[in-house]
């Protein structure tokens, strides 16, 4: 009898980590613990920073098997905000991202590569301005654990460079690319 209990216990213990595989997280946009920021050249003299205020998404993260991780984000391109209403209007217009026609940008990961030391290379498809192109996001794991309010959170920072021409967005002067800075904190679902 004792042996059965011990062997059952051992079996359960060895199975448990497998069951705890790949937890699903909802990106915490309600609490604004995530942001999608961009940086673009101004005349080659400086940079302007902007953000998309409205987005949602989910990710799957498994610390034991990073390659099983995935992420999906939908961005409302009409929520572009560079702290200047007239400029925002211009960027949203069909001169640039044509936000009324292409109001959603999506990113869907295809493959997550473990670079070691919490560094990840997230390959996936970005749909922006009606064009879908493969991109790679360099991401770093920041931390995870319980929050004080009964949830479990995990967070990352990511960056990638988007060539505007890849998405048929007009290149003006020195502004041929946009650097994205992504802060992502998720609450386990």
């Amino acid at each position: 009898m004792k042996n059965i209990i011990i062997s059952t216990g051992l079996a359960v213990m060895t199975l448990l980590p497998l069951q705890a595989l790949a937890a699903d997280y909802k990106i915490d946009t309600n609490g604004a613990h995530a942001s999608i920021n961009f940086k673009v050249s101004h005349l080659g003299y400086s940079f302007i920073k902007g953000r998309f205020n409205t987005f949602n998404g989910t990710f799957t993260y498994d610390e034991n098997d990073l390659s099983a991780s995935s992420v999906e984000v939908n961005v409302d391109t009409r929520s572009l905000d560079t702290n200047h209403a007239e400029r925002d209007k211009h960027i949203r217009s069909d001169d640039f991202i044509d936000a009324s026609k292409f109001s959603t940008a999506t990113f869907k990961s295809r493959r997550v590569e473990d670079k070691g030391d919490g560094e990840l290379a997230i390959s996936g498809d970005l749909t922006l301005h009606g064009k879908t192109k493969p991109i790679v996001i360099s991401a770093s794991f920041i931390g995870e654990g319980k929050d004080p309010w009964g949830g479990h959170r995990a967070g990352f920072i990511g960056s990638t460079r988007l060539e505007l021409a890849d998405f048929d967005i007009q290149v003006m002067g020195t502004a041929s690319y946009v650097d994205m800075e992504l802060h992502v904190e998720g609450v386990r679902m």
């Binding site: 309600n30 004080p148 309010w149 009964g150």
Partner: protein, 181 residues
């Protein structure tokens, strides 16, 4: 009010709504004062405001129903001397006004950035967006001081009811308790 005969007691729905409001207002006041001093790392930091907002919205709906019911079914006459009746009616009206000031100012704090208010995750009350500058701060001040005035008026309201019951020995409190004489 409609043209029906004036009732002798408050009806059961009126009494229920009155006492539910009394308990809810005291709970909202206590939770409200407590929750704004919680530290970020308190386990109640998110839950307490969520419940406060949810209960507040539900009380706002109940108060609308209550006023509709009062208008439709009528209310018994206020008893006492002429000046008492005058003050009582004034206090009653002001209590209602303060309740709505509380509901609206509270709503304006939470919805200033376009976020909706989730009521116990049952349904959401959408935002009207930012209606004026410094909305969360100004609405917060109004919410705080209105709450203080509401508490003072509620105390006067309660003490007056006890005075009518024990000193004047009239029906004021019984009308709201539902006892038949």
């Amino acid at each position: 009010m409609n043209t029906k005969a004036i009732p002798k007691h408050y009806s059961l729905p009126s009494r229920l709504l009155h006492w539910v409001t009394a308990v809810a207002v005291l709970a909202l006041f206590a939770v409200g004062l407590w929750m704004v001093d919680l530290t970020y790392y308190s386990e109640w930091y998110k839950t307490a405001p969520h419940w406060h907002k949810s209960l507040g919205i539900l009380l706002a709906l109940a108060t609308l129903i209550r006023l509709g019911w009062k208008w439709w079914s009528g209310a018994p006459a206020v008893e006492g001397k002429a000046y008492e009746i005058f003050i009582a009616k004034w206090v009653h009206s002001f209590l209602y006004v303060l309740l709505f000031v509380m509901f609206f100012s509270g709503y304006l704090i939470s919805t200033a950035d376009g976020r909706a208010i989730a009521v116990f995750n049952w349904f959401e009350v959408p935002s009207l967006g930012q209606l004026f500058d410094n909305q969360p701060d100004i609405a917060g001040e109004v919410h705080y001081y209105s709450a203080m005035i509401l508490m003072v008026l509620a105390l006067i309201h309660g003490l007056a009811a006890l005075k009518h019951h024990y000193v004047d020995k009239d029906n004021t409190l019984r009308k709201m308790l539902g006892e038949r004489k």
